[in-house]
Structures are given as structure tokens and as C-alpha cells.
Amino acid sequence: MSALGAILGKDLRVELRTLRSLPAMALFATAIFISFRFALDRTSLEGDLAAGVLVTTILLAALLAVSRLFVSESEEGGFDLIRLAPVDRTALFAAKAAALWIYLAALELVAVPLFALFFLDSGAGLLPLVAVLVLVNVGLAATGALISTIATMSTARDLLAPLIMLPLLIPLVIAASGAVEPLLDAGGPGYHHFGRWLAVLGLYDLVFLAVGYAVFDFLLED
């Protein structure tokens, strides 16, 4: 826990000091919302279309943070520092996933109200949306930390991360959209199959947390 706290604290301190990821994610999400607004030529969205726009936007904004997640470890010797220290290397995976989860939560604090402002007639479905976003963030964080590590070890980091990550995220996108769709229905939030989709999201999260924990040590080998 000490190593996890040290790495997470370091990452958050650096992000607060440099603001390299969060503002870019928020601006990117805003730009996507504006693009959707003009591309769809709609001032109001509901149901599956609203769910698709929200989930896709969060996913694309997450890619920005994923591509930068291990930059300091790769370029400033962080990988070596951690490999020289008497710590379980999965602490690095856990810390990076936790940092990404926090970035995503911070992004959503800005992006979801903006989404409501751009596209929703009512904010009634936003409260239960929190449960979905918590699970979506865990899945994105676990997959993102894993893929970012693999991409960082290659010379084509920026290209590789989205190419590997997007196909892996398809189950998460399906489950997240399925859970969000009834919450954003025109007649107010519904809960049709809501629990089932949350369970699928939870399962996805568990699988990728377990895979990350199992393989991360090997990924750091030379």
C-alpha cells in the first residue's frame, strides 16, 4: 500500500502541477459534444442515441489520458526506479489504474453537466448515471493501465494504445450503453435491464483487473 500511495500521490501531484491530461480531456470532450451536435443536427437526444454519444465521448477522452499514463515512467526512469525498489510491481499497475479512474471521474464532473446542457431536456437520469460511470471508469482504468504499459514498451506508443484498446473496450461500450439508455429515455429514467448491464460492467471490470494483476509483472521484464 505504501508503494501504491507513493506512486499515486506522485502522479496526482505532477498532474496538478502541470495539468497535462485533465484540461486536454475536458476540451476534447467538449469538442466532441459540439461535433455531435452539428453532425446529428439535433438539440435534444434521448435513449440509445444519447447513451451512445455520452459513452463514446468518455471513451475517446479517456484515450488521451491512457496515451500519457506511463510517459513519465518511460521517459524519466520511473520503470527502473520501481524495478530497483523492494516493492511488488503490481503496485504500479494499481496506482496507474487508480490515477486514471480519478482523471475520468474529474472529466465526468465537467463532461456530464455539459452533455446535459447540450443534449438533455431533463436531468432526472443523471443521479443513477453515477453508478454506471463508476463501473465504466473502473473498466477503462484497468484496461487503460494495461494497454498503456504494453504501448509504452513499443516504439509506436501513440498509435498502438487506441488500436489495441478500442476492440477490447467493445464489451464495455455495449454494457455501458445498455445501462445508460433507459436512464436517458424521453419519458424519464427507466430501469429496464439496468441491473443486468451493471452486472456485465462489474464482470468486465473484474476480468481486466485480474488480467492486469496477473500479467503486469511480466510486462515490466526487459
Binding site: 506522485k10 526512469g77 520511473g78 524495478r83 530497483l84 523492494p86 509483472d217
Partner: protein, 223 residues
């Protein structure tokens, strides 16, 4: 997973008189390219091994293998009684590694970097902060201790990286050009920090042949 259930802080059972370093035909290839030819050497505790050789001879590769950062392709290596690569986990926290590139985060200050390293090495915080203050003062960096590393000169960064390297009082120092970017005054300041002592051995990579040989008990010429 590599020895995840074992406590990596447990010191190995070393026998009296056991060498700090014992290498037999150690080599490393990257595909078809030989990065390090077969190397054999033995170093006792408290001794200095100078590693010399032309550019690309494998000096840095050797240090990275000895630090447990790179797997050897062939041969045998025992570092502080730990067989590499199988017992690398037992070596962690016992070796001080100073590479070509500083292992410092550019957006943190020297003090923050050293506190981070101390936390990774599970040092007691109050004691670590006292030692960090002493080390920074020793290398003349106390006035810039809270500046970002990105704002420091190359020589200052090297001084801080040396503090990072010795912070956890390692039993073996692996030093790749420790004098680089340092002026004469700074070299004299860091010398006591990175010298071999009664129990601490060191491997010293240097292009300054005369200086390395003057400091060494043994010499290894690569390439």
C-alpha cells in the same frame, strides 16, 4: 508471477567472505547483436571494480544486468549472493544504480524525488527526511531542494541523482560515469558518498581511464 508471495526485503543468507560479485561467462545479446561478450570477474565487499571500454562495448549493459534491470542471455552471475536472474527479487533495495539517464521526475523537486524513492524503499519517513536533508546539504543542493528538477542544470541533476542512488544505503553501488556533468568541486563533494567502504562494494564505469584505475582495486576491460 515472480516470487510475489515472498518478502523482497528479506536479506539473503550470505556466507562470510562471500564475494559481492561473481560473474562467469556473463553475456547479453539483443537478437543477432552481441551487446556484452562473455565476462568473468569477482569482487569482494569493500572493493571497487573499474569497467573500461570503448563506446558500445557493453559497459552500461553490464551495469543494468547487475542491477537486475536486464536479463543476461548466458553465463552465471551472483550479486550480493543472489543468483541472476532467478533471485533478482532478493536484490531489490540493496543495490544503488546510477545510470546514464537520471532516475528523477522532472516535474518534482529534488526533495520530492528523494521522498518518493524513500517511500518506495520503505524507509522510515522521519529518518528518511533527516537523511535527505543531510545528503542535499552535502552535495550543495539545499537551496535548490524545492525547485523542479526540470529547472536544474545537468550538474545539479547529477548531484541529486547521486543522492537518490545512495539514499537507501545500498550494499553495492553500480555507477555509470558518476562524474559526468560535474565540475572539480562537485566531484570532490560526491566522492565520499559513492566511495567503497568496509562493507560496500562498487562497480565504476568510466571513460576517464586514469581516474578509474586510481580508484579501483580491480579492472575489467570490455570490447
Amino acid at each position: 508471477m515472480e516470487a510475489a508471495t515472498q518478502d523482497p526485503t528479506t536479506p539473503p543468507e550470505t556466507s562470510p567472505g562471500q564475494p559481492a560479485l561473481a560473474l562467469e561467462g556473463l553475456s547479453r545479446d539483443f537478437g543477432d547483436r552481441v551487446a556484452l561478450g562473455p565476462v568473468s570477474a569477482e569482487l569482494a565487499a569493500g572493493q571497487t571494480l573499474a569497467v573500461l571500454g570503448r563506446n558500445g562495448a557493453g559497459k552500461s549493459t553490464l551495469l543494468r544486468i547487475l542491477a537486475g534491470l536486464l536479463r543476461p542471455s548466458g553465463g552465471e552471475a551472483r550479486v550480493l549472493g543472489c543468483r541472476l536472474p532467478g533471485e533478482t527479487w532478493r536484490l531489490r533495495g540493496r543495490v544503488g544504480y546510477l545510470g546514464h539517464r537520471p532516475l528523477l521526475y522532472r516535474d518534482l523537486s529534488p526533495r520530492e524525488n528523494l521522498v518518493f524513492t524513500a517511500r518506495l524503499h520503505k524507509l522510515e519517513l522521519a529518518e528518511a527526511e533527516r537523511r535527505i536533508g543531510e545528503l542535499l546539504a552535502h552535495v550543495g543542493m539545499e537551496r535548490r531542494a524545492n525547485s523542479r528538477v526540470a529547472e536544474l542544470s545537468a550538474g545539479m541533476v547529477q548531484r541529486v541523482d547521486i543522492c537518490r542512488c545512495v539514499l537507501n544505503r545500498p550494499e553495492l553501488l553500480l555507477l555509470d560515469e558518476p562524474d559526468s556533468h560535474l565540475d572539480q568541486e562537485a566531484r570532490e563533494l560526491i566522492e565520499p558518498l559513492i566511495s567503497a567502504t568496509g562493507t560496500r562494494a562498487r562497480v565504476l564505469v568510466s571513460h576517464d581511464r586514469e581516474r578509474a584505475l586510481a580508484a579501483a582495486d580491480l579492472m575489467l576491460e570490455l570490447g
